[in-house]
């Protein structure tokens, strides 16, 4: 963790110091994204074959953002994929839950991260704070549950705001 005396004026962290707090690994984040992707693709396929292409697409989009807004915005900060792999999303400044607004913003920004050949995702490999572009734009970080556990029985609880 960053030394509290550092908060007064910003200065770049000295070499070799690493991020200012716990961070989930690239592999776990990728695994969680794959699990969520499979779930949402299956749901999307069913929805689109039931409702046809146009209406089905609109509803699939709503389901996607609803899924991330609800689960990632909730007090656990966990989608099903993140729950399975023991990681969660929290606010960078407070470590608290995202709420609907920040969770939706974060997942809108995933589009920006994905546009230049997923460069925004790979950014965490060399970013000093191990953050993707959508992490930075929404001021959130993904942390291991072991380091920052969610409140008990909070998975699936609705976002507070």
């Amino acid at each position: 963790m960053r030394d509290p005396s550092d908060y007064g004026s910003w200065s770049p962290p000295p070499e070799g110091r690493g991020p200012s707090g716990p961070r989930a690994s690239f592999g776990l984040r990728l695994g969680a994204a794959l699990i969520d992707g499979i779930i949402l693709n299956v749901v999307g396929f069913v929805v689109q074959s039931l409702l046809g292409q146009y209406l089905g697409y609109v509803l699939t989009l709503a389901v996607n953002f609803g899924y991330f807004g609800y689960f990632e915005g909730g007090p656990a900060g966990q989608t099903i994929g993140k729950l399975a792999l023991g990681i969660r999303t929290v606010r960078q400044d407070t470590g608290g839950p995202l709420g609907w607004g920040t969770a939706l913003l974060r997942n809108l920004c995933r589009i920006i991260s994905a546009l230049p050949c997923l460069l925004g995702y790979f950014w965490m490999l060399w970013d000093p704070e191990k953050m993707t572009w959508h992490d930075k734009l929404s001021q959130t970080v993904v942390v291991p549950v072991a380091a920052m556990p969610p409140p008990p029985n909070s998975f699936g609880q609705p976002p507070a705001s």
Partner: protein, 115 residues
């Protein structure tokens, strides 16, 4: 100076890159990974040819790899070093990063007839 915050993460990514390059030709619809940027603007970015080059390197077609971009061979070597020697820390001067990207870009601009 660019410091990799977690060498383990980079190793994971490197391993996935090598594995993907091995299985890519077996996937249906290959090769159909068209770059959206180059399709729309016609201009290649510095990383152009990397998929082709890394895949060709992993299948020991070094001529094809160099024709697409020599950087693909370097990427495979870096990934192998990460996996075999498992360095504890990686620091790269930012100037070197930009110099390599500039070299890679001029190679691509030449390959597509802009230079």
């Amino acid at each position: 100076m660019l410091e990799v915050p977690d060498v383990g993460d980079l190793r994971t990514a490197g391993g996935l890159m090598l594995a993907a390059a091995l299985v890519l030709p077996a996937l249906p619809g290959h090769p159909s990974l068209l770059c959206p940027l180059r399709t729309v603007t016609g201009v290649p970015c510095p990383l152009c040819g990397m998929t082709t080059s890394v895949e060709a390197t992993m299948h020991l077609r070094f001529g094809d790899a160099v024709a697409a971009t020599p950087a693909g061979i370097v990427a495979v070597l870096v990934a192998l070093v990460l996996l075999i020697w498992r360095p504890k820390a990686i620091r790269v001067p930012l100037g070197l990063v930009f110099a390599v990207l500039a070299l890679m870009w001029s190679f691509q601009l030449h390959r597509f007839g802009y230079l």
